[in-house]
């Protein structure tokens, strides 16, 4: 069930009505749990068996681990659970890659072996990468002692809701167990923060329905007809793809946040305007935050992080980024993409650039553009097979003589503009916050600027931080979402 479908709208309204109307508030969890399972099994009910098994296994394992007085036993039980989770993920997600590799290298055809053939025919369970990581976090946090369970029955229900809560089930954000478990309880309709929920929903649907869906067909055709388009058109198409993937995924995350808010739950922010980042390290603190922090806490730090010498740090970064790439899918292009980011992060660290952020707006813009260029280049390999991405780059370098397709380019710019503006507004807001925190710095820098520039700067800041302007912008987003939606597309991150 897609968030951007009429079926989902009906589903969400019905569930919400039931959720707040149940006579006994204890039934709320039951309503939420059942509706989450309905949501997940809507198109492929068979997948509910896998989700159910995952919930049961992780609830039991974490409960058992928490009962052990000795740390060693706790680790043993949790490790078994983690291995089972990873085995399930690998069986569904990476078996095709292994089968193709074996076939190519040794001529071994796994598809001809009966049990493997059956496994290879099974569809990839939607959202498996997300809920497996959440389950692993539950097991690890139990051993770390950051989880407190009440009773087995309650723990079963809590774990079931934690893993299957429908707003974040399919494409995140990847929620930490302690963050979610603490929120489980009775919720009241009057306690809903309508302003926040509305803000998230409007922003999310605008990014998905207006920006991402409208860009989709233009970008696809741009890649398909790359030999026919000029270098400028292709560069613009590549940039638009960066905007699209952000709008698509961030849109989903904001919708998830908004929906959760309607049910009285808070989910962590997954995006923080990543294209204003001045370094790759900063980019990863702003892009898919729930995944990057998960990788940091459950992989990078346990590997030793940056505490065991420079060479080991680089190895750790590469391992994390390659596995992060592989998490997105069992394909060479994802490994390539992860490798590119890993190398970029290592290079940045070796030059000491990862710690530097400039308050000089021109330097900051230049650095953000360089990072955006690198990220955009890497997205080409993320979203297309390497030969197609390379031929796209080749065409971009070759087609200087062709005339730009102006109407198409104008359309791309118009649709991308709101996302760029949002990034810019965020940068201005951060600048304003910096000024408020360091008034002497700002006074010095303002005094050095021409009067007109000072006036413009103050006006821009006032508009960007004004509540009225914000309400108008949100109203415009809602309006555009309603009157100019793109052709409905599935969310890009559903495939992961």
């Amino acid at each position: 069930m897609l968030f951007n479908s009429a079926t989902f709208l009906f589903f969400a309204i019905t569930v919400m009505a039931l959720y707040y109307a149940v006579p006994k508030k204890g039934w709320q969890l039951f309503v939420l749990l059942v509706s989450s399972l309905v949501f997940y099994g809507w198109t492929q009910p068979a997948l509910l068996a896998l989700l159910g098994a995952c919930i049961l296994m992780n609830a039991c394992t974490s409960w058992l681990a928490s009962l052990q007085p000795r740390k060693r036993n706790q680790i043993l039980i949790a490790a078994t659970g983690v291995i089972l989770n990873l085995a399930t993920l690998c069986a569904f997600k990476y078996m095709h890659l292994v089968a193709a590799g074996l076939d190519k290298a040794f001529g071994v055809r796994l598809g001809h072996i009966e049990p493997m053939a059956l496994l290879l025919q099974l569809p990839l369970p939607i959202g498996i990468s997300f809920y497996t990581f959440e389950a692993i976090a539950l097991l690890v946090d139990t051993v770390r002692g950051s989880m407190k369970f009440r009773s087995l029955r309650q723990h079963m229900v809590d774990t079931a809701l934690f893993i299957s809560f429908f707003p974040h089930l399919i494409a995140g954000p990847i929620v930490r167990p302690s963050y979610f478990f603490d929120q489980i309880g009775v919720k009241y309709f009057r306690a809903i923060d309508w302003n926040k929920a509305g803000e998230y929903l409007i922003l999310g649907y605008f990014l998905k329905v207006f920006v991402a869906d409208n860009l989709a067909s233009m970008i696809d055709s741009g890649v398909a007809y790359r030999y026919m388009l000029s270098s400028f058109d292709l560069a613009l198409t590549a940039c638009a793809f960066s905007v699209r993937i952000f709008a698509d995924f961030a849109g989903y995350s904001y919708i998830a946040l908004g929906l959760a808010a309607l049910f009285g739950y808070k989910l962590p922010q997954n995006f923080n305007w990543p294209y204003t980042a001045q370094s790759l390290s900063e980019f990863w603190k702003r892009w898919h935050i729930s995944l990057s922090t998960w990788l940091r806490d459950y992989l990078y730090i346990p590997l030793g992080g940056s505490q065991q010498g420079q060479v080991r740090t680089y190895i750790n970064i590469m391992v994390v980024m390659l596995l992060g790439g592989l998490w997105h899918g069992a394909a060479v292009n994802f490994i390539l993409w992860g490798g590119m980011h890993g190398l970029g992060l290592c290079l940045e660290r070796s030059l000491g650039w990862h710690k530097i952020t400039s308050n000089n707006r021109f330097i900051a813009i230049a650095r953000a553009l360089v990072i955006f260029g690198f990220v955009t280049f890497a997205w080409l390999f993320f979203s297309h097979k390497a030969p197609i991405a390379l031929s796209f780059c080749h065409a971009m370098l070759e087609n200087f003589a062709l005339t730009p397709a102006v109407p198409r380019d104008v359309m791309l710019i118009i649709i991308c503009f709101p996302v760029l503006l949002m990034h810019l507004v965020d940068a201005v807001k951060r600048g304003t916050a910096h000024i408020q925190e360091n008034p002497s710095d700002s006074a010095r820098s303002l005094n050095n600027s021409p009067a007109l520039l000072q006036h413009i700067s103050r006006t821009v800041r006032a508009v960007c931080t004004s509540n009225v302007a914000y309400d108008c912008a949100m109203a415009m987003m809602l309006f555009l979402t309603l009157v100019n939606p793109g052709d409905p597309n599935t969310f890009l991150y559903f495939q992961f």
Binding site: I202, S221, A224, P407, Y470, A475, L478, F479, N484, G486
Partner: protein, 288 residues
Amino acid sequence: MQTMNLRTTLAIAAVLLSVYIAAIGTGQVHGNIMIRPNQFNIVTAQQWHKLKANPEVVLIGSSKIAYLRPSYFDTEVINLGLIGNGSATGMQLLRNSVLTPQLVLIEMGTHSFQPQVDERFVNAGKGDVRADEGLLPYDQRPMAVLLKLLCPFERDEVPSPAKVAKASLYEIEHERKSLTPREIATISANLKILRDGARELIARGTQIAFISIPCDSIIQHAHAEEETEKLLDQIFAGIPIKKLSIHDGGNFETTDMVHLSVKSAKQFAKMLDEDLQHLCLASGDRVL
């Protein structure tokens, strides 16, 4: 910290919507406030080369035809392959032109069911055939439905025999039902253009040959080509045409190309062999 006021936001959006609805009501705005992006998908006629009133061959088809390079030909060839569109538009261009080729090679495939492009584009081909690399609107949906009919498999999927049997064009009736009446009308109109065009050209003494080039995803469906040929039989029943196909178990080997009755046939076949991988790549792994 900025926070949105939901009431104010909804009130402003309501005002905007009211103005918009009023503008539609008074005829100031038609439908979408902005032009839809898929209207900017690309329809490009490529390589309209070696202009001559009586070329030996005219090629009509989609991007697979359009990408054929002039260097492959040692004869007078005009390429009316259209990127982003297909054979029906090419046929209209040909009928509007003054060309009297010896052979017209029409590519048949899912693209053949794409709707016509803008009338202005078709008229641009009147008189001398000339290149027009403008951007013109087209709607992809009917083609997408047809693609689903002909090629219901995922890329790289090895379909089971049961799935292949189920995939038969004539067995997925429920998929056909997903076409709207408007889309069915579009498809019918295109088929009529091809049928009438073929009749007219044959009357002028031109030979007509149809080819079906399965692309990388279609080729995995063992019956895709047979289905296309069945469709051809249905559409062109009673018209003396040649039917050619390039398909041999997924290796892109030519089999029937030697039937072409012009001297460039072998070059043409050779070129298709060499270029097909490139073409599939160039079309972004999507069949046009």
